[in-house]
């Protein structure tokens, strides 16, 4: 039973960056007939997404967001003792992207820097890792940089994923302060389902080759992709999520001795509209407390939870708020968090 509990550590500022190129999903019709696209888009409720150009990486989005956060909050860079970069779309296979960001941000060589590679639940995992470090008083300030360029991962000729994913980067500043009170995290894993969402080629088990690069028809619907593209067994993922996620939410609320109605907001991973409404219905949650960005940014993997806070709850933290975080995805991993946001300074989203 892996529940982590922390006291007086929290997110004091957040910022986000998205690419300026807007993809209108109804017009994303290069590979499919207009009518078919309309049907899919109407059902999934994802109308727009943002795509980076071929020379922009997740780290560039995070860098822009970090500069904005540092400037808006007049942060002394010398006080940043830890940075963690969360992504599954790093700049290189090595070195870790956090090191490149340490240098670009002009942080000292005393900075602790490393990457976390996990997937959609990674922001919540990352918070718990950084909160753990922050229990050590020698660390004054920490930055979580979380970015994804999912547009580069999926085949535009595979309906199962072509209309869903988008790009974005966020930064969260973590500090100690008594106002944050207690926070709780439940982190879970099920590697027996590692084949539900996967990019098979390009690692060391199945290195890039002519074969992994070859595009193939993969199912009865005529979807096309290569082994270098990500794939998703949508039905199995959905079946798994509707079973495990509500259970974990209930479990952590019980552990934290909180009733669901005590929360001001429930921020869910933005996978698709249908999954989130289904979970909300199953747990009888007040849907007015569930902010959404899926319609305008799509599924941005681990970035979606913090991006939704930044985009939709910007003015809401002048008084303290109790927030439930929930995310799930590739792995499978799923995570739930109970945090307090009090005077969290949220910057305007930067477009690059």
């Amino acid at each position: 039973m892996a529940v982590l509990e922390f006291e007086n550590i929290g997110i004091s500022a957040m910022s986000g960056a998205v690419p300026k190129t807007v993809i209108n999903n109804y017009e994303y019709t290069k590979h499919f007939p207009v009518e078919q696209v309309k049907e899919v888009v109407d059902k999934i409720g994802i109308y727009e997404r943002r795509f980076v150009d071929s020379s922009t990486c997740a780290s560039d989005l995070c860098f822009a967001a970090a500069e904005k956060l540092i400037e808006d909050n007049q942060i002394d860079k010398n006080e940043i003792d830890l940075i963690v970069f969360i992504s599954q779309t790093p700049d290189y296979r090595m070195p870790a992207t956090s090191l490149l960001l340490q240098d670009r941000l002009g942080l000292s060589n005393k900075t602790i820097a490393f990457d976390i590679n996990l997937g959609c639940s990674a922001f919540i995992y990352g918070l718990s890792v950084v909160y753990g470090f922050m229990q050590n008083k020698n660390i004054r300030k920490a930055l979580i940089l979380d970015g994804e360029t999912r547009s580069k991962v999926y085949s535009p000729k595979d309906r199962q994923s072509a209309f869903i994913f988008g790009d974005a980067g966020v930064v969260a500043l973590i500090e100690r302060n008594e106002k944050f009170g207690k926070s709780y995290f439940s982190l879970n894993s099920d590697g027996s389902r590692s084949d539900l969402i996967m990019i098979k080629g390009g690692g060391y088990r199945c290195p890039s080759s002519l074969e992994t690069l070859e595009e193939k028809v993969v199912d009865e619907y005529g979807n096309i992709r290569s082994d270098e593209h990500g794939y998703m067994k949508g039905g199995d993922v959905f079946n798994f999520v509707i079973r495990e996620v509500p259970k974990d939410l209930k479990f952590l609320m019980k552990y934290a001795e909180m009733d669901k109605d005590e929360f001001d907001y429930y921020v869910f991973h933005q996978a698709n509209n249908f999954i989130n409404s289904y979970i909300a219905k199953k747990l009888k949650l007040d849907s007015t407390k569930i902010p959404a960005t899926i319609h305008k940014y799509g599924n941005t993997s681990s970035v979606s939870v913090p991006l939704t806070i930044i985009s939709e709850l910007k003015e809401q933290f002048t008084t303290p708020k109790k927030v439930l975080l929930s995310a799930f995805g590739v792995g499978m991993t799923w995570a739930t968090g109970v945090i307090n946001l009090d005077n969290c300074a949220i910057s305007e989203i930067v477009e690059i």
């Binding site: 999934i44 009865e220 039905g235």
Partner: protein, 74 residues
């Protein structure tokens, strides 16, 4: 009796407007309304109405509405 009820729930889940065109022998993949997204709707319906855990593999093995109904009886 009960398959009739199942057919109604199936029609609602995948948004078939005319329930009358459906029967136990209907091959559901041939329906105009059927798409890869329908699988998700169907899984949700099976969970909600019958508390059955259904994945891609189980649905792939089915051809007709009768086959799907069989899952709820197992």
């Amino acid at each position: 009796m009960e398959i009739k009820e199942f057919i109604e729930k199936f029609a609602e889940a995948i948004e078939v407007e005319e329930v009358e065109i459906l029967n136990a022998e209907t091959e559901f993949r041939e329906l105009d309304e059927w798409s890869s997204l329908s699988i998700m709707m169907l899984i949700a319906m099976m969970d909600e109405e019958y508390e059955k855990q259904v994945g891609d593999k189980e649905i792939k093995a089915c051809q007709t509405i009768q086959d799907l109904y069989g899952i709820t009886l197992s």
